[in-house]
Every structure is written in structure tokens, then in C-alpha cells.
């Protein structure tokens, strides 16, 4: 992990290269969007199925560019207190009681002391706006579709000006706007106004070639034949009518699992046993256990033989 801050890349190729340094193999469309977002200073809005590597992008950006990663995990009911700042009420009350015990009841001075930086708990959005010597941090707003519209409206305002107002302290404005990455699993449609502010990209499943490269990079020591069979098996699975197709994360988990089990090639018994790593719904597993897996393995082997 690089600790020195680097400037943003100056071309699409440079962006691809930068992502490659952290072992993230992106396709050219994603690299284009990333490059434009970094260059034009716009947030990136990544939408896609679960497990395709949306959150990973932010981590990769932060490690390769040497910036701090600030993560805001969204959930229903997320509000300003949990996202921007909160006062440390317990300490403030103690400070008030102490002042009272000492006999200092100068009201203005007390207010000034109690509502100062010392008692301010900074939450992710406020942390992202603070100046940082290492350059603008990467702000990851994860799973925005889990919050509600009220928070989206608030976020829109923050992303427009990159400033928040704390009534007791004043306005905090970012000297360098952070690099914002927003992800969504599409369980709810995000309002158009927010999407318009960002550069949108749908992260889809990779093709066989890229997935093979990803598996070989992330699971070092995997056999050549096994990796090929795994990737083609998963690609064939995605074409079937499953309730939830496996993502890249599932492919990598499965590859690691099979490596742990010392498999050299796919065989129906092992595949049926480890289906729970790939598929997360019972009806999908039931469909593929036993004979389903056997047929698919044979199909994959025939394809690979034909390709040679």
C-alpha cells in the first residue's frame, strides 16, 4: 500500500495501469468513467448486482493514490447525527457540572466552552471535508439505496457545495473536494437529481477472459486447468435462469475453497458439496445439485476442448 499521495492519473490508460497496480482488473468502460470523474471532480455512482466489486473500487483508489479512505455505510434511518457530526453530550454535561461546582457561572463563556471543537464528534461526512495533508480523501458512501429520500436530499446538498453548517461553530468548507464514490445495489431507485450530479456506471459481470485473469491474480497458486474450468463453469451458470447469479466475489471464494480442498479439476461430488459458496438461494442449489452439476461440468469440458 503506497503511503505517499499521488496525483490523479492523466489518461485512461494511466487509470487502467493504476488500478492494475492494486490487482484490480477493470474493463475499459469503468476506467473511462473513473478517469473522467477524477478529472472533472464529479462523484462516481456505481450500480450493479451484489458481489461485482463496486466497494472494492473505492478501496483500490485510496490505496493506489495514497489517500485516506473514509467510509459511510448507509442504513435506513441514517440522519445528520450519525453521518455528519454529533456533540459529546456526556462530556458536555460533566463540563457544565464542573463549572457549576467551581462557581463559574459566566453563561456566555460556558456556552463557548461547551460548544467547542473539543466536544465535537466528527462523523464520516465531516471528516471528509476536513483538510488533509495527504490530499483529498476518498469518501465511500456505501449502499445508498438503503437510506431514504430525506437523506438523499441532504446528500445532494452536501455534494453540491462540499460544505456543512454546524450552528454553534459555523460553516466547514472543504479546501479540496474529496473523491466521492457512491454505490447502490438497486433495491430502490435513487432520485434522478442525485444521479445527475454524478457520473453513472453500471458494473456488470466480467467476461470469461477478464474473470480468468482476476481469479489467477487473486488466488495465487491455483492450477491452470482448475482456474479455467471454474471460470467457464461460473460463466455458464450465469446464463441459466437462476434467482441470483453468482458474482465475482463468489467466484473467488469458490476458487479459494476448491484450492483448500486440493482439487485439481472439477468433479460432480465436490461441486455439489461446495455449491453453497456460489449460490445463496435454496431453490437454485436444489436445481443444480447432483445431475445438474454433472451436466454443466461436461458442457464446460466440451467447450474447453473445442476451444483448444
Amino acid at each position: 500500500m503506497t503511503t505517499a499521495a499521488r496525483p490523479i492519473p492523466d489518461s485512461i490508460d494511466a487509470t487502467l495501469h493504476l488500478l492494475g497496480e492494486a490487482d484490480y482488473l477493470a474493463d475499459r468502460s469503468l476506467a473511462t468513467v473513473l478517469f473522467l470523474a477524477l478529472r472533472m471532480g464529479r462523484p462516481i455512482f456505481l450500480e450493479g448486482e451484489a458481489g461485482v466489486g463496486k466497494t472494492e473500487i473505492a478501496k483500490v483508489l485510496s490505496s493506489t493514490l495514497g489517500r485516506r479512505l473514509i467510509r459511510l455505510q448507509c442504513y435506513e434511518g441514517l440522519d445528520v447525527a450519525a453521518a455528519v457530526y454529533e456533540w459529546n453530550y456526556a462530556e458536555q454535561m460533566i463540563a457544565i457540572r464542573l463549572a457549576e461546582a467551581e462557581g463559574n457561572i459566566d453563561r456566555d463563556r460556558l456556552s463557548h466552552d461547551v460548544f467547542s471543537d473539543r466536544f465535537l464528534i466528527k462523523r464520516p461526512l465531516l471528516q471528509a471535508l476536513e483538510p488533509d495533508t495527504a490530499g483529498a480523501p476518498v469518501l465511500l458512501i456505501d449502499e445508498l439505496d438503503r437510506t431514504d429520500e430525506a437523506f438523499e436530499a441532504f446528500l445532494l446538498e452536501v455534494l453540491a457545495d462540499f460544505q456543512v453548517t454546524i450552528p454553534e461553530l459555523g460553516t466547514v468548507k472543504a479546501a479540496h473536494p474529496p473523491i466521492v464514490v457512491i454505490t447502490s445495489n438497486r433495491t430502490r431507485e435513487i432520485h434522478d437529481a442525485l444521479k445527475r450530479r454524478c457520473l453513472y456506471h453500471w458494473v456488470g459481470y466480467p467476461n470469461a477472459e477478464r474473470e480468468l485473469a482476476i481469479v489467477r491474480t487473486k488466488v495465487p497458486g491455483i492450477g491452470k486447468k482448475l482456474s479455467q474450468e471454474i471460470v467457464h463453469f461460473v460463466q455458464a451458470l450465469r446464463k441459466q435462469d437462476l434467482f441470483k447469479a453468482p458474482g465475482v466475489a463468489e467466484t473467488l471464494d469458490w476458487a479459494s475453497a476448491l484450492t483448500e480442498l486440493d482439487a485439481v479439476a472439477l468433479d460432480p461430488a465436490t461441486v455439489s458439496d461446495t455449491l453453497g459458496v456460489l449460490l445463496k438461494y435454496q431453490d437454485d442449489i436444489a436445481r443444480l445439485e447432483g445431475s445438474g452439476a454433472k451436466e454443466l461440468i461436461e458442457q464446460v469440458r466440451a467447450e474447453l476442448r473445442a476451444a483448444e
Partner: protein
């Protein structure tokens, strides 16, 4: 064409543009502006801000490889996954060589019957309309004699008829519509996890408490409270439009249109032999316009019913997108499935588990001696939370009351199962 943006684009004018093919000259920026206009007409909302962004983006990324140019414009103009297809078609038509454009134009003009032209890919008709809007106006007088039908394929069970809405007398329909509008939807509110100031709440609001106590110099503490905010859950309606339901479909759509106005999140799906999402059509303010948009987008009016297939399609493609945050599902069908099998039980079970409340509205309940004997009905009944009639305005009023928390046991499905067992 005088373009208000033209003066500021003079910097681009002299640049060669490999993307617009051979000897077209260098007006890349103009091309981008015209392309944005075409996208807008084809249905992708592109504001002037986006056009400026596109110019900035192309300047930053350079106009090197064709692919890069495509993805650069894609990153700026496309804001939803569905718009990708229309964008791709538009890009191909707009930035390809001249020959293809001529080919499209030839398709529009009258030809000697040689053979049917190949059907264009789905989004091409919209883009075609967008690019050749002027040309179409000129051709209109001749088009009455010659019909170019390249978009429809007829499968044996689907009937390509537009539903004829004039089946009730006009006066009856008008009265019914007014009554529907007047129904006050007492709204079923759901507790959310968001806290707001509430005098009768149970959670202490530290922030307001401290502020209030600071006003008095910290001498005493006046507790302020927070309570859980409530809101309206989303409603998802699955409406059966097969032949057996045809008498009710129209008024149902009116009802759903009225609810769409009143609540913020209503999604409506029509199914017969296939599933169609008509939420956007129903968002039109005028009820007639909304219904005509609906009937324009649905292909299988009054055909057969395949409930299991449609529910499967809904569960697979839409359930995870619209049932979040505690949705209430209204399933409006008579339950008479052509070939009921295990799939129906599985799909209705899955639907039931994915939503907060599943209400089944069945017009067959209008018959006094109704008994749940049909196999399809018996399959669905155990998986619904409420079973209600829906054949007249009274029952609609009952429904709106049921959508509030005062539901009660009137719609308990188990009593129907007990009667038959």
C-alpha cells in the same frame, strides 16, 4: 441551424474528428450537441448541463479510439442501466458512415414488395423517430396506403388487440371515476427507524435537551424526547388483465391511478401471459391519458392467464427492486390458473415472504355462494394475508379502509379454507 452554444465552441471547430468518419469536416462539438438532442427526443433526459459536461469530458479524454469516445459520452449521458440500449443504438446510427443512414432512410420510403425488411433491434424505432422526425411529417400523406409493420411478431396465445374501454355505459364510468377520486385513502402508516421530535416519545433527545438547558445557564435540565417517525409504505399492484377479468380491469386501473396520485410510491404491473410494468404510464395526471398509455404498452389484453409464470418473472426481475422498505402487495386476480402446479405454490410463497403484507383482491367473491374449490385458488389462499372482494365501489371503499391499520378479521383467508375442508 443557429445554435446558441456555437460561439463558445469555436475552439473545437478546427479540430479533426475521426469519429464522424472520412471527409465530414471538423465540427465535433456541433455533432455532440446534435447527438444530445437526438438522445433527448429518443427518451433519455439530457439537460444542457450534461451537454456542457460532455464537451468537457471529451476534451479531457481526447478523441482517440472509437471505443473511448463511446464510453466517454456514455459516462456523461447515461444515468440508468436501461438507457444503455437506446444510447448504443443512437450512437451507432449517429456516428456511423453515411451508408447506414441512407439504408434507414430507404426503409422509410415506399418500396416494391421484395421481401420483408429485417425487424430492427428494439430501441432502433425510437431513435429512428427521433432522428427523422421532420422526414416523417413530410411522408405522412403517403403513409396511409402503405403500412410498414416491422415491430410486431404474433405468438399463438397473445392477442394483439388494444383493449376497447367502452364496455360500461359512459355515465356509469364517469360516476365510478368520481367516486374513486373521492375515496379518502386513510393511510396505513408504518414506523420507520428515523427519529424526530415527539413530545410523547420515549427516547431522550440529548441535543435539544442540552440546548434548552444552556438557555438557562445549565442550571436545570428539561428533557426533550424523540419518537419514531411514521411514513406510508410503498404499494405494489399486480393486476391480472386476462379475459376473465376484463370487466374489472378498467376501473381498477382508475383506482390505481388515483392511488398513484395520492401516495408517493406506487408500482403497477399488469400480467396475462407476460408481465408489463406500467408504473410510468399511470403517473400521467389525466386519467384518460394514463389509461391510453397503459393500453399502448401492453400486448396481451384478454388473453389467457399464466399466474405462475408472471409471478416468477416478477420475483426474479422486480421483487428486489420495488419491495424494499415494507411494501404492501395487492394481487388482483380471480386465481383461475390454466395449469396450476407446484410452481404456483412456490412463487406465491416467495412473493409472500418478500413483502410486508399480501392482499388478494378477487372479483369472484361477489358471488354469495363462493367456495374456494378451484385448485388455483386453493393453492394461493394459504399464502396471502388478506382475501377480499373487489367488484364494486363499496368493496373499493372497504379496501381503502383495509389499507389502514383498522383491517380487522374480515379478510381472513383461513375462513375460506375451513369452509371447503
Amino acid at each position: 441551424m443557429a445554435d446558441p452554444l456555437a460561439p463558445s465552441l469555436s475552439g473545437f471547430a478546427g479540430r479533426p474528428s475521426p469519429a464522424s468518419g472520412g471527409g465530414e469536416g471538423g465540427r465535433l462539438a456541433d455533432n455532440i450537441v446534435h447527438f444530445a438532442r437526438a438522445l433527448r427526443a429518443a427518451g433519455i433526459p439530457v439537460g444542457p448541463g450534461a451537454v456542457l459536461d460532455a464537451l468537457e469530458a471529451v476534451q479531457a479524454a481526447g478523441v482517440g479510439a472509437k471505443d473511448d469516445f463511446y464510453w466517454t459520452l456514455h459516462a456523461v449521458f447515461v444515468k440508468r442501466h436501461e438507457q444503455s440500449i437506446v444510447f448504443e443504438q443512437a450512437f451507432r446510427i449517429f456516428f456511423r458512415k453515411r451508408g447506414y443512414l441512407d439504408q434507414l432512410m430507404a426503409m422509410m420510403l415506399p418500396q416494391a414488395p421484395g421481401g420483408p425488411p429485417p425487424p430492427p433491434p428494439p430501441a432502433a424505432t425510437r431513435v429512428q423517430d427521433a432522428l427523422f422526425a421532420d422526414l416523417q411529417d413530410k411522408l405522412k400523406p403517403e403513409e396511409r396506403e402503405i403500412e410498414l409493420d416491422t415491430t410486431y411478431t404474433v405468438s399463438d396465445r397473445e392477442l394483439l388487440q388494444k383493449k376497447d374501454f367502452a364496455q360500461m355505459t359512459a355515465a356509469e364510468i364517469a360516476a365510478a371515476r368520481l367516486a374513486i377520486k373521492r375515496m379518502v385513502l386513510s393511510l396505513d402508516e408504518v414506523k420507520t427507524r428515523r427519529l424526530a421530535a415527539d413530545r410523547r416519545g420515549h427516547i431522550i433527545d440529548m441535543r435539544r435537551t442540552l440546548r434548552a438547558s444552556m438557555k438557562a445557564g445549565g442550571a436545570f435540565i428539561d428533557l426533550k424526547y424523540l419518537g419514531l417517525k411514521t411514513k406510508l409504505p410503498p404499494v405494489v399492484a399486480l393486476l391480472d388483465i386476462s379475459g376473465s377479468m376484463s370487466d374489472y380491469t378498467r376501473l381498477f386501473l382508475h383506482f390505481l391511478h388515483a392511488i398513484t396520485d395520492a401516495r408517493k410510491r406506487v408500482h403497477t404491473f399488469l400480467f396475462g401471459t407476460r408481465l408489463t410494468n406500467v408504473t410510468r404510464a399511470l403517473k400521467a395526471r389525466d386519467p384518460d391519458e394514463a389509461l391510453s398509455l397503459c393500453s399502448a404498452s401492453v400486448l396481451d389484453w384478454s388473453g389467457g392467464t399464466r399466474i405462475a409464470t408472471s409471478l416468477h418473472a416478477f420475483n426474479k426481475s422486480w421483487a428486489r427492486r420495488v419491495l424494499g422498505q415494507g411494501a404492501i402487495v395487492l394481487l388482483i386476480t380471480d386465481g383461475l390458473e390454466r395449469d396450476p402446479d407446484d410452481r404456483l405454490a412456490f412463487e406465491i410463497d416467495r412473493l409472500h415472504r418478500s413483502c410486508r403484507r399480501l392482499i388478494w383482491l378477487n372479483p369472484l367473491l361477489r358471488f354469495e355462494g363462493f367456495e374456494a374449490k378451484a385448485k388455483g385458488i386453493q393453492t394461493i389462499l394459504p399464502h396471502v394475508d388478506e382475501f377480499r372482494p373487489i367488484h364494486n365501489l363499496d368493496s373499493m371503499a372497504e379496501l381503502t379502509r383495509a389499507l389502514s391499520a383498522q383491517g380487522g378479521h374480515a379478510g381472513d383467508p383461513k375462513q375460506w379454507l375451513r369452509r371447503v375442508a
